[in-house]
Amino acid sequence: MKADKYRFTVPDAMRLGLISGAGAVLVSLVGMVKVFNERGIIAGVVSLGQIMILLILLIAGYIAARRATGGSRWAGLLQGGLAGLAAGACLAALVLLGSVINLRAMFVSASPELYKILTFDQGVVTGAGILLVVSAAVGVAGALLRQLPSRPRRTVIVASVWMLTLGLLQELLRLTLGGDAIRVFRWMFGTGGQKGLSIVGAVLVFAVVAVVHYQWTARNVNPRAWTRSLPPDRQRAVRWGSLALVALILFSLPNILGVYLSEVANAIGLFVLLGLGLNIVVGFAGLLDLGYVAFFAIGAYVMGVATTTAVGTGSGLIVYSPGFNFWQALPLAVLASVLAGVILGIPVLKMRGDYLAIVTLGFGEIIRILAISDFLKPYIGGSQGIVGVGVGQIGSFAFDEPQSLYYLVLAGCLLAAFVSTRLKDSRIGRAWMAMREDEDVAQAIGIDLVKTKLLAFATGAAFSGLSGAIFASKLGSIYPHSFSLLISINALSLIIVGGMGSIPGVIIGALALAGLPELLREFAEFRLLVYGAALMAMMLLRPEGLWPEETRRRELHDAAEGGESEPASEAAVGTN
């Protein structure tokens, strides 16, 4: 009976294996395997490069086994093994091909080192054989993992992810913990220049996380449900308590994080500010702005020109500065951005969608080009930028290093978040959302489109200008090169990855898109590659974002359920 229910789909497994194999070949030819092979995850045992390949094979086996629903255990394992084998065959083919013709004339990464890694340094033929066996075995392991009951499976996955993450972030841990603490934990990490966890460290991390996770899931705690089950006054106490806890954490964060991570936190904070502003323009009002960096630049330049001490006629100096201090310049910077928002907003009032996108992109570029130009060099520094930008100071407390600047950034973010939240449910917020859904209908029900649009541009520009002003003061010097299109794209991506229109989403999005690249500085070469792949994967698997706005999530799900087969089936595959 089981037999006829079960679909023994060899072609399916093979197809899956070949796709994964193509992925593995891609990762190899792009050079990731070779470069990451030098980076240990568990010192002396397994490297990041090897893990990448293994993970691809493992996932192939896992998915193959998942597709083989309803079959016997053995069939599932066979399925996984087949997928792994097929994927391994692709890699073996690459090695064989590489040994016959010189692929390196075209693909710079098809180096002997790569083949060595792939063949376990055992020569081409033997190595390819081993590769096939190992691939099949890893595929079976993936299938086995899939066949575990759900709770232990989750535990294994979570513990492995923790182990990998700690291995990856080893250096950061070292910096954050500082000299003394790291001495205590020395046994956990590789020694003598080897990076990653030590074997003992890896096993311990795995064990601890596994035990904790297993126990935790046993109790099946759902914080939200638990809170709801409490009487109302206790609920309020819990809410205030957690709020106070969050405030306390936010306040003491720089001391916990140390200097470098505070710097990262500040960079993220500036993107949160940008994101909150753009969220109003794009997320609330539905106006696609690809030139958002313009206001960031204007804020930074006003701050720079108004506070710089480098005034004169020589090289690297500008001819005039009013010599304001930071606090005098800050409102000026925000005001200038708002003004620019309105002025740039007027010509685009009648444009919609993609016309708006390209024109705003153009505005961003115009501002950057003007900033770099020799034409305006005497006034705003041209390509030499502006140096000696002022630093904020309250009494003797100066915002001049990451751990103190953090509070300024935090204050800005809290203000922006507060304003955003209040605006969202206000009259104007509802007008924005009406406009986002349908401009014509919004106008028909009496919304003044001109005023509403300009207000969105102005508010968005204000946050962006604030962010730019703090950015200028943080760097102490401004270069026109800092205001490239990439900033606009980053800001847009982060609000969409976070969940458009959602304020917590902006924060999550900034953490993911501004924080991770900063932490993965070590892998500089492949940062943008991974960034691009992550953006694509994110949109395919979770188009509503990481922390979507409630209404939007519902809409998307309705659309997926009611829509035609293609997107629905794809989404189903993705979210399983």
Binding site: L175, G179, R183, V184, F185, R186, W187, G193, L204, V208, V211, V212, Q215, A218, R219, G258, V259, Y260, E263, V264, A267, T309, A310, S315, G316, I369, I372, S373, D374, G382, S383, Q384, G385, V387, G388, P402, K474, L475, G476, S477, I478, Y479, P480, H481, S482, E518, R521, A524, E525, R527
Partner: protein
């Protein structure tokens, strides 16, 4: 049941931490007392001497970073990887070629108190933001290729004590290029082009100022943007002033387009082309093609037996020639740093090293007649260790277009 599990677990964790903490018991009897005004680095007997780099090792300018990094690694290899019985540990940060990159890298380096000194950054924009942070943490920082004059100008906000460089100040290179054009090539009119990078803009300004000072005329000071490909319009505009030489100290690929297209613009067929070290790269002559024949490049010039030996080491280690022209500067910077550490380090009986940060700084500033690959280096009080003697002008010929690299030097001041 589960409570007991937790209990056991926490006991295990606690015990392991305590055990670990006790294991490497601190060595007793350390008579050394740090009297240095900005602190000391203590290197335990089994620890390594930690130096770091902040270079642009990713993105479009990564050839610069790879070049310098190779120089640093060879300098360490030459010491046998050891200094005063301790291994030398080199770690690094990608500072990019931008102010924000410099700040991130600088912050990260400054947060690591085990670092004794830093070699970097490549670009002046990154130096501007990194140097206050790194020097603020007491470390000494030596740049192999940041050339902006402001960085060693004590009246400028970008000047920081503790920041030195083995790279030649733009004031030298711009001057030499202008002198070469006016005195050697005997041209009387010139045009310049920059690409909006702080480096090129500053260099062409120095060139123009000196050229005018010598008695020549500047017919145009033009600019293009990074990412431009069609240079013919701007070249046509320049052709209306009929300059005898065009100086464009820009980078690849814009410089390649400029050189290749200049010969195709009417009125510029006989105009002399001159670039700077931004185009002093192995890929340039091939990319510019026949147009590069007869073109001049100003750039770092290093020669001699020691340099040939260095290049041999490079080829053995990395295969192929160095990708840019600042590897020798990085090599010298590393050696100056290591020599200074050797000079000021105090060693205990058990092998522990103590390096006073101010003492180290003083020692680096006191570098005098240091026999480097780039000539005899003497650091002045503002941190300029190069005097411009390691600069030359190169003329490209058919051989370079055919793949030979580097070109022989054509003229030296």
């Amino acid at each position: 049941m589960s409570k007991r599990m937790y209990l056991t677990l926490s006991v295990i964790v606690l015990a392991s931490i305590v055990l670990a903490a006790c294991a490497p018991s601190a060595p007793t009897a350390a008579p050394f007392v740090c009297t240095d005004t900005i602190g000391c680095v203590d290197i335990a007997p089994d620890a390594s001497v930690h130096i770091a780099y902040a270079l642009t090792v990713s993105g479009a300018t990564s050839f610069l970073g790879e070049d310098s990094k190779g120089g640093i690694e060879i300098a360490i290899d030459d010491k046998g990887g050891k200094l005063l019985g301790h291994t030398i540990e080199l770690t690094g940060e990608d500072s990019g070629c931008s102010a924000d990159g410099g700040q991130s890298a600088g912050t990260k380096l400054a947060a690591d108190p085990t670092i004794v000194g830093v070699v970097g950054t490549n670009c002046s924009s990154a130096s501007r933001t990194a140097s206050p942070l790194v020097t603020g943490a007491g470390m000494v920082m030596i740049s192999p290729s940041a050339t902006n004059p402001d960085l060693s100008n004590p009246d400028h906000p970008d000047y920081h004590v503790g920041y030195l460089r083995t790279a030649h100040n733009d004031l030298f290179q711009g001057r030499i290029a202008a002198q070469f054009a006016f005195n050697e090539l005997k041209v009387k009119s010139a045009a310049t082009i920059h690409d909006g990078s702080p480096y090129a803009e500053s260099l062409q300004n120095v060139f123009a100022d000196v050229f005018k000072e010598l008695g020549g005329t500047i017919t145009a000071q033009e600019a293009v943007n990074v990412g431009d490909v069609d240079m013919k319009p701007v070249l046509t505009k320049i052709s209306t002033g009929s300059p005898e030489i065009i100086y464009f100290p820009i980078f690849e690929p814009e410089g390649d387009f400029m050189a290749a297209q200049a010969k195709e613009v009417s009125g510029l067929e006989d105009t002399i082309l001159m670039g700077a070290d931004g185009l002093f790269a192995v890929s340039f002559p091939g990319a510019a093609g026949q147009a590069a024949v007869g073109m001049y490049l100003s750039g770092p010039y290093v020669a001699g037996a020691a340099y040939d030996e260095f290049i041999a080491k490079w080829k053995a280690k990395f295969g192929g020639p160095p990708p840019s022209g600042f590897h020798a500067h990085a090599y010298d910077a590393t050696n100056i740093l290591l020599a200074a550490i050797e000079k000021v380090a105090v060693q205990d009986a058990d092998g522990t090293l103590h390096v006073g940060r101010q003492a180290l700084r003083d020692a680096v500033y006191a570098t005098k007649d240091f026999n480097g690959l780039t000539g005899k280096l003497t650091c002045d009080v503002y941190g300029d260790c190069a005097t411009g003697e390691a600069l030359g002008v190169f003329k490209l010929t058919e051989a370079e277009v055919g793949g030979a690299w580097p070109p022989p030097v054509f003229w030296q001041p």
